[in-house]
Symmetry: C3
């Protein structure tokens, strides 16, 4: 057996009993996945997933960053190849290093999928590599393992993708126009056209103009183009935007200054500080539009992207070399909050890679401003210990109801049930401790557990 029915529950028997009871009530609730990086194409085309290595290893930077840290080369893992030449060899390398993942959430997510989806019962290792490869390969060809069938099997109610304003969203349209009932929604992620440091920024802004018929060489036309594109996303069910800036800095410049800043930025004559100021201004503009059109705003700041220069030059973005940075919120968000902080119809969900801000900045901010909510532990912190730290440091100031349930934030579709399972178990473990220590009644904990697993995400993301 790879995973135990009582996994992640506190060892103390009384507390474990409470956790188990709470979990039984949330285990069966549908999964809402409001923020992630799966592909709408899968659901539009509904073709079988490829081999185990392509499915599990290649897209998952949690996996290959760990292998890389211990001396496995990315060449040997065929990272960056569109079709794998030797998937079985890649799989064997992964399998023979599986012990590196002891104590990590990656191991829990994978073991969940291996056991619950593929019926595997022996731990993955050099010895079982081929058994795994063959078992998984075979199942992937069956109808039950097609994307739409899995969506149903996973008990998904909504699945949001993350999309560029330049994306045509053809696959989203195709899904909507099919007679399949799954809800696959786009999320508006404008980084490529609001971050001057994004590769090809000026060209992307020009393209945005073409696509929308607006003059994006001028500030007003640029804003209109964004507004129109948000409208196009909303027509396909989009309820949220997402913003991946280096910092949480916001600005609220007078229109003429903002227009002038835009002119410089688009002309390529702005310096690094002006790029940062422009991103800051754009967060406030996005908040303004959210207040108009009702899209929930997510801010994911604080990642030093592409930290490994040589790997970036060779493989490009998203190869597991993004690193967290200290992130400030209390000062950074002030201009935006001065303008919109007291709006009850606006929802801004804050994320962080800097856990020191949980109790120092995020909980106090979210425990006061009506527009603010706290996103779940993100990225490196989306783990049992990380989730426990989040609840322990957030709850006493912000309570449960300024949080928004779980995000799986994944590219790995097959890991979705396992990830939500870990989150639900950890929330039940946290609540069970409160009950066992007489800080909450069991009946209350049961209501909160269901809200954390289902109610809050639905409400916060307006789904």
């Amino acid at each position: 057996m790879l995973i135990h029915p009582d996994r992640l529950f506190p060892a103390e028997p009384g507390t474990r009993r409470i956790a188990r009871t709470l979990y039984e009530q949330v285990r069966i609730l549908p999964i809402i996945s409001p923020n992630g990086h799966t592909s709408a194409t899968w659901f539009a085309k509904n073709e079988p997933f490829p081999d185990p290595a392509k499915l599990f290893v290649q897209p998952d930077h949690y996996i290959f960053r760990m292998l890389y840290s211990q001396g496995v080369s990315l060449e040997d893992l065929e990272i960056g190849q569109t079709a794998l030449k030797n998937p079985r060899k890649v799989w064997r390398i992964f399998a023979s290093h599986y012990c590196l993942f002891r104590g990590t959430p990656t191991r829990m997510w994978l073991d969940f999928a291996f056991q619950e989806l593929f019926g595997l019962k022996q731990r993955l290792s050099e010895q079982t590599a081929d058994l795994y490869f063959d078992t998984i390969s075979e199942k992937l060809l069956t109808p039950q393992f097609r994307p739409r069938a899995l969506y149903g099997h996973f008990n998904l109610e909504v699945l949001a993708t993350t999309d560029s304003p330049l994306d045509s969203l053809t696959d989203h349209k195709a899904v909507r126009e099919s007679n399949w009932k799954g809800r696959i929604l786009p999320t508006f992620r404008p980084d490529p056209v609001v971050d001057p440091d994004f590769e090809g920024f000026a060209g992307s802004v020009a393209k945005l103009g073409e696509k929308t018929g607006e003059d994006t060489s001028m500030w007003a036309g640029y804003l209109n183009a964004l507004r129109r594109t948000r409208g196009r996303f909303r027509e396909l069910g989009c309820t949220a935007t997402d913003h991946g800036h280096p910092t949480a800095r916001t600005a609220n410049l007078p229109t003429t200054e903002a227009a002038e800043l835009f002119r410089r930025v688009i002309a390529g004559s702005a310096d690094a500080e002006q790029h940062e100021l422009f991103r800051a201004q754009m967060l406030t503009e996005m908040a303004r539009m959210s207040l108009e059109d009702g899209l929930v705003m997510q801010i994911h700041p604080g990642s030093a992207r592409n930290h490994n220069r040589k790997l970036y030059e060779r493989y490009g973005r998203d190869v597991g070399a993004d690193m967290p940075m200290p992130t400030n919120y209390v000062d950074a968000l002030r201009p935006l909050l001065d303008q919109f902080g007291n709006e009850r119809d606006l929802t801004i969900i804050l994320f962080t890679l800097d856990e020191s801000v949980y109790s120092r900045e995020l909980a106090p901010l979210a425990g006061h401003y009506p527009c603010l909510r706290l996103g779940p532990p993100w990225w490196f912190h989306d783990s049992p210990e990380g989730m426990m730290r989040f609840r322990q440091r957030i709850t006493e100031t912000a309570g449960f109801y300024n949080t928004v349930g779980f995000n799986d934030d994944t590219r790995a579709f097959l890991s979705i049930p396992g990830r939500h399972d870990v989150a639900r178990r950890m929330d039940c473990a946290f609540l069970a401790k409160l009950v066992a220590e007489h800080r909450l009644e069991e009946e209350e904990a049961s209501e909160v557990a269901r809200d954390l697993a289902y109610g809050l995400v639905k409400k916060a993301y307006r789904l």
Copy 2:
């Protein structure tokens, strides 16, 4: 039953037994409250407290910041009104949102007061709102609920208020001259006359001159005025000062430079950096005076006051919109410590809103400098998890004896026993874990528990 006799004790039965035994020994000790924001007027006049809403909701920014974060308007809560127009309506709003406080210390403090003082047994909710309102209203009119009677009932031994140097301390005098035996002491909090950014600073300094007969337009006279005022406070039993600066920065300028800086500051020609430098200098001046007159010095840095601009413009200070900031101590305190750090007759108690400094800066500083002691978890961190983090991160470097017991730091008089109860239980829970893991003998833990609840505060604050 709202509160359980074993609340906050660890769930593991053996550890719980130890915690319970330790707690039984400290439960009965008198309460010393050396730092808070209650009003001496209550004890001078000894009049009944007003209605439940005015008593519990209106003064407590822990409560209304949470309500506000979830969309309740401050108008509906009648915040800022001196007399409530519709206290029952305010109470009902609060009651119907009581579930927001699940998992927060506010809920523990309130439930303690509801059950232990007012005999209530059903949880507060929309349904029980009127029952609560009527029960509490009725009791508040009885003699046992007058301020002086409650002081006795709470087993208070000392209660310190926090007072401006401009305060006449008439109520403190009245209490001392009455034949009531309660000890209500003032605390010297000079922020209005040492922080150039405080509203009305220059005017307050001028007034200080009038009150003391010193020429506070000159550096020497200004210092003398402060010295005299400290003397006036000491005559009324004051043993401590308190300093609420944005940062912990200190400075130690030559007299002529300090005098020149004061001249600019008082003339209104100093810039923001000079204001900060002036506050820094004043911490060192206050330390110098403490060494002279024996007043214990408390520093509460790191709060970004009045973060919500619109609420500040409308309601003024202290409406729950102060936010913590990252705070440095190791560099910031250096000038002061260079001068006075090795003085054994000086006591400086450090507080923080930035938990990342507990193990990194505060414990190493307090575990070395003879003049330094660590204040208990403050504000947002004055909570079960916050207290546990404090002990876990402080004790191994600074030990128990560089800490100073508990502060309730509250405006809510009725919450005092509940707050001390939480602190005592958490200290016993921490100690019980040490005993259960054989890191401390039970007999030693028992001695430490009594010191944390009573001995250390008395010694540190010279009470």
Copy 3:
């Protein structure tokens, strides 16, 4: 009994059983001590240790910083005296303040030595001071308490010291040339000749030139002198270097710029920022040499040395007044990692005094770059709670295999077994929790426990 067989194991009985089983397997493993501050002279001369005060109190700044913080004077402890005038008096002062160490690791280490080495069974106190003094004094004169005998008794396999490039390493040579089998290895710690702020820097660089026959007034000769000295250390078994910089900043200047910077630094005409840049450049140079000669590189940044000015002026370095500072790694290490980050044959072990970087910076960096490994909790954080925080915050991102086992980092030879015992127990406690919560199989935990106690340190330090 001073120490309990189950000390530090979780109280929950099932988890404790697992911890005990794991511990039984690692208890008997040899101790590898790859980083510390013991003296090779002890093993070269093999003379008896002096009295208890000189042995336990005087060299241990963990002890006297705590006493000092509570008002004991350093004069009374005879700190800085080469021979103690009144060791019994010093010992009595220490004994009568022993309660200050409740809840600290110092107490655990001391009690281990008192009971396991000296057979003492009553707690140290004013009452038992003389009993301790006499018992310890007597045993220290017996052959079993000579340094070499203790090395064997402690089951040490390797013990590394920390040495200046100017050290002749005579004692190391003497040990190697003796027929004693103990492995005492030097560690190359070049701070005195690479940190321009080190006392006597320029003179030390000149001396380095004399010792190596290189012209250390020029950049190329200076680097060669370092290279040669590393060779001299390697010949005596050295496998590692150590670098104690104020920050983790690195630089990678073109040769001509580096040479010019060196010229200024050595001429004494560089400013503070240039000193910092020079240190930064030297970390990269040291990494380059490590890639050539295979020495493992340790970086210990983030200590504000000699924070107490008056004590420094009177007693010099290392009197317990070093304070941790916030430390950045993600930006600071970038120049070095740009150059060498992807080298699989280079090992750089990172330490920190800033726990907020564990999950935010160190685990993500070590979980990606092949050259990086994480050193164990250091200094103030080398404690039960500190070790638990390290594992809880590191493991989920970096796993177990990017860590390198335990360092005792001590000047107190007799505390070595007690320190390793605490580390082994805490790792078993952490693993037991993972097993009890079904996050790891017991068999896997057993393998990991042995790796953490023995395998990883041997591999990482190339011993």
